[in-house]
Symmetry: C2
Subunit: 368 residues, 2 copies
């Protein structure tokens, strides 16, 4: 996607020096665009752990490149030492965010590919495989965009070309992947196809990823958008100001239950109550083929401090500052996700196509 | 209610000097408790306009005392001059927040009462009437508390005395009235009756009145509470962590439609979806006997800056600071209220008793 008028991914190898991988350090968005050079396995581990990068797809791609850098740095005279070095690097990376499915998946895939080649070919193979992981992530998202485009196009036609209003929650944008994003991919595709779109972006408290990240993406890619408080979506739908809701997901069960950022369920209820189509966009890798019921999904509980404080840019001094919203001793609970049941969901937009949120339709789409 | 261990109202005459009316300047809560002395009509106009005081009941009581101070300051030698002075003061006060129903109502009531007495008796009469307005507001809220207590008591009995979990939105607390509050009155009454209660308090963005005001009230009155992001209520109800929702209202139509702080509708949807009883608490003065349908309710749109910035306490420098959450040029919409339809509401808790949210039941309760 575009940053300051130039095409950019969230992660890419330095074109002048293939021992350096570059990322956007997302902790500083939207107020500073800081590009970070990652040169060692430690750099990568810190970048993932401290959330310089975040989002399922992007974490996977970062782990892939991290293993490439591990191969670069590994001793290459003795195959035993080489393998030991790689395995240690793999363990170090996986430990950074143990619940991120794509992290372990990417590390394992890198180790697997290296088994097929000699020590001499390892570096080239690792670079090829890491690039493949990143490229595939971008391609999957692009494909989600094309399938979602069909849905938006149909709404646009029904509205005789009038503005299509979309509501989204949190950041399921290109910043969470390598490019395009999941929920945002159909929006970018629609804009490219010349369809008039406008997006309502939920602030998405307590971490405000909508206000910080999705707004920043749209700002740089000329998507018309309006930020709204999380409380607002229901009212917008009652007033017929929303034609379609598109959100991402952190985990979708093969039975159609969708775990996503806390608050998604409330917007799905409002969509149902107002006959607004509610879609979930996801790459194939986000399906959970083991868990059947929402009770099996563990909802991450984060620290209450995130609810009590707001972090933002203090314009009077030109730096990030956190401010306390509540009484000092207030107790706060901070559930990170909720689960939206299938009966509130119109369809799932995947890289393989669109399907209904039920076991039969999902299995059919994936021949499983 | 209680502040720092002492009984307190939101507005009261100085016991040592009846030419001074005292208020809690709510702009500084929760991080500073500043008591302000109001001595002139200008002081009152500023306090209402700049929201040192806010909330339907409290605005009415403040306007009553403002007219008493106007009588104090008015020239008393010539009845014509006296009346002219009073009418000017009345106009000045009403203009501060033109949409506040209770403001004009209280000013008119004061003017009406003064018609009954001589110039000599005016001061005494004005003080009596202003005190009556404040006392009635407190009594109405206390009465809401008793009717709501019955509902909470029943839930407590069904749960065999186990903790009753209540969810509330925004601040419909004693800070919005003279004492007790509307949605909070049943909670305070339940605590006094020895029922084990715990309250989930929505942060209530963008102005965060739950985080700032409701949390502060509960902190000082020893109500067990947990602050949650606005996105959280649906998940809490899915997990059976909420036994009852109680909210306030800014305007309730005689047909049962409830206008309240933006986001109320989303919580009502979640309550319905999870069979959680959803109650609205209100004094009789909040009923709108003219408007029939939600389309007739004008929803206030406020500036987008409230969505883009968070205001809170910067602990590193010990002062209130506002921080920018979004890209500098982000566009934001800021709808202040939404309307919850009757089919999502279990009942209305009024000072006259509890009734269903429909025209027949409401008219019956009020003999109208």
């Amino acid at each position: 996607m575009i940053v300051n008028g130039k095409t950019c991914r969230t992660i890419w190898p330095d074109p002048d020096n293939n021992e350096i991988i570059k990322i956007i350090d997302q902790r500083w968005l939207p107020h500073k665009i800081i590009i970070e050079d990652l040169k060692t396995v430690d750099d990568f581990a810190t970048a993932i752990k401290d959330m310089h990068v975040r989002g399922a797809g992007l974490i996977g791609a970062t782990a892939g490149y991290a293993m490439y850098i591990a191969v670069l740095k590994a001793p290459k005279t003795n195959p035993g030492e080489f393998t030991e070095y790689l395995n240690n690097a793999a363990q170090q990376l996986i430990a950074t965010r143990p619940t991120a499915v794509n992290l372990k998946w990417a590390v394992d895939r890198m180790l697997e590919s290296l088994k097929r080649v000699s020590l001499k070919e390892a570096q080239e193979e690792a670079f090829k495989e890491a690039t493949a992981i990143a490229d595939e992530d971008a391609e999957f998202c692009k494909s989600i965009g094309q399938h979602g485009l069909d849905i938006i196009k149909k709404i646009s036609e029904e509205k005789k070309g009038k503005l299509v209003n979309i509501l989204t929650h949190c950041n399921a944008g290109w910043l969470a992947f390598v490019d395009y994003g999941s929920a945002t991919a159909p929006i970018y595709a629609a804009q490219e196809a010349g369809i008039a779109v406008h997006v309502y972006v939920d602030v998405t408290g307590p971490r405000n990823q909508g206000a910080r990240l999705t707004a920043w993406e749209f700002e740089h890619n000329n998507i018309s958008y309006t930020l709204v408080a999380d409380n607002t979506g229901g009212h917008l739908m009652q007033k017929e100001l929303v034609d379609i809701v598109i959100v991402g997901t952190d985990r979708t069960l093969y039975t159609g239950y969708v775990a996503n950022k806390i608050g998604t369920y409330l917007k799905a209820l409002a969509a149902k109550d107002n006959n607004v189509p509610f879609y979930v966009a996801l790459p194939s890798s986000t399906f959970d083929w083991k868990r059947r019921t929402p009770k099996e999904i563990i909802i991450e509980e984060r620290g209450g401090e995130e609810v009590k404080y707001a972090r933002g840019w203090d314009e009077s001094v030109g730096k990030y500052t956190k401010v306390l919203l509540t009484p000092k001793n207030a107790k706060a609970a901070n559930y990170a996700f909720d689960v939206t049941p299938p009966y509130l969901i119109t369809g799932l937009i995947t890289d393989k196509g669109v399907c209904k949120p039920n076991e039969r339709a999902i299995r059919k789409l994936y021949n499983k």
